[in-house]
């Protein structure tokens, strides 16, 4: 499908009384919310609160113990061809044996059987995906030659190659320095605005993302909730969420950030 067919009015996620059980114990429950398409949505919660489980439910990799889930209007797993997933630790092991452009090509045709030469159209889409993340300059390098920030861009390019309607990123800013964090955040904002992709981003540190987020799914006291950014960035809620006093500061320029209060 081409990107012009994207219906940005559709609902990205619909959760109806969803609960998740892993290894016999309840991780979270009572997840009932609708996430509108087109935004940048943070998924937040303390360690072990079930953020990864939530991603896996959205991707259809684990079935919810109860309730109903719809992803872009379809049951989870059915629409994964138009979901770009960027896991943590992208290509940690195979980096020496493959070039950036070959890895991105896999995002386009990696699920097809048999050996096949990429078509001109496929090459064009790989170039397009690399250019969308400003990674065209290192298309011919080995993955192992890239810095952390470059590698994260390539991971996003691989996800973009299939022209997804939704991008899911698991801790894309972890292990990046401040400059690379800012560049990835700007990139996500640009992709969201220019391509209209809904972006779900798991993050333990919200600060670098606050300027671009529209809303957040948060996991609190064993329940999954969804709210707009203004509803979430609130001292009492954040303090409860992180289990430590949090102060929300708004600078005279209107920038928002939060910090741990001692």
């Amino acid at each position: 499908m081409s990107l012009s067919e994207i219906d940005s009015t559709a609902t990205a996620l619909t959760f109806d009384d969803v609960s998740v059980v892993r290894g016999g114990s309840l991780i979270w429950s009572e997840g009932t919310f609708e996430v509108p398409a087109g935004g940048i949505v943070a998924i937040i919660g303390s360690n072990g609160s079930g953020k990864t489980s939530l991603l896996n439910v959205v991707l259809g990799l684990i079935a919810p113990a109860s309730g109903h889930v719809r992803v872009l209007g379809k049951p989870p797993g059915e629409v994964n061809q138009i979901i770009g997933y960027v896991p943590q630790n992208y290509a940690a092991s195979a980096g020496d044996a493959i070039r950036v452009c070959d890895a991105v090509m896999l995002g386009l045709n990696g699920t097809r059987w048999a050996f096949g030469r990429p078509t001109r159209e496929e090459r064009r889409r790989v170039a397009e995906a690399l250019d969308a993340v400003d990674a065209g300059a290192f298309a011919d390098r080995r993955l192992s030659e890239l810095s952390g920030g470059q590698r994260q861009r390539v991971a996003i390019a691989e996800a973009l190659a299939a022209r997804p309607r939704m991008l899911i990123l698991d801790e894309p800013l972890a292990a990046l320095d401040l400059r690379n964090q800012r560049e990835i955040v700007q990139l996500l904002d640009r992709l969201n605005k220019q391509l209209g992709v809904t972006i779900l981003v798991v993050a333990h540190d919200l600060n670098p993302l606050l300027s671009v987020l529209t809303s957040a799914i948060y996991l609190l006291d064993g329940h999954a909730h969804f709210d707009t950014l203004d509803g979430v960035v609130e001292e009492k809620l954040l303090s409860h969420l992180y289990g430590t006093p949090i102060q929300v500061v708004r600078t005279p320029q209107g920038e928002l950030y939060m910090r741990s209060r001692s």
């Binding site: 012009s4 087109g38 935004g39 994964n80 997933y85 290509a91 195979a94 896999l106 050996f115 390098r141």
Partner: protein, 326 residues
Amino acid sequence: MTIQAMAFGYQENWWSILTSSFMSNALIGGTIVALAAGLIGYFVIVRNTAFAAHALAHIGLPGATGAVLLGMPVALGLGVFCVGGALVIGVLGNRRSDREVATGTVLALATGFGLFFNSLATRSSSTMTNVLFGNLLAISREQLLTFAVLLVLLAASIGLLYRPLLYSSVNVEVAQAKGLPVRLLSMIFMALLGLAVTMAVQAVGTLLLFALIVTPAATAIMLTPKPPRAMIISTAISVVSVWLGVALSAMFNLPPSFVIVTIACGVWFLVWLLERHVWPRSTGAASRGIQSTAPQSTAAQSVTAQRISAEFAANQPETFGDHGHR
């Protein structure tokens, strides 16, 4: 036979040895084994299963000595244990931390049983040596046929699984999310590796197998990061090592396995040296924090990409700036 009294030395009649019928079996068999090793080697490295490949060869040892004990063909025992062991490693080794220990433990146990079976069967010491160090000269015509069938099976499987196997090797989580059966792919790969190992053991033996399957692939990956090209180079190194190895062993009356392994390792060492000191690629520079210049082709490529991106953007005017809800 030799012109010198020593056990090894130049043999004048090496050409007639090389062209004799038992040598042609060795050459054809060795070529088939080298092709199989070269094909699977790239994936062994991409999937980080070099240690498993090494261990599988040892797991074949009790199979081979046990087969002698039961009066069955050695290759059958080898094959059953290698493929079976491969599947066991595939099941156990889901997490890499587990896999290392599980593989090593099974390896030790298998070697112990191999020794035990060998001690029970009094006439099998030559089998033991053959399995440990390989014996291309012992390959029979019937085995050649089996090898050829296995090679076709291996090549067809790798051809069919190429892209999903590569995808699940490079980016397993995403491949799984996209609906690829990553566990099944992993098991199939291990079974194929088991087959390749079974064949390679006949050529170079369990102890030297690493040098025929893993080392040429590692050499090829140093030379090129392009997967199909790496597979071709890796296969070429394996084949040339076997041919030169057999020829030199006929010339100087040396054990073929020794010469094959020495050539394969020599090529690896040479490329490693050249890569480090003569043409260091940007890896080294990047890891030392030096910004290396972009390869020549990328400038043209990024211009193309910009043009493409402009087209791409021009086709999507309605998706621009319609996110007023922020």
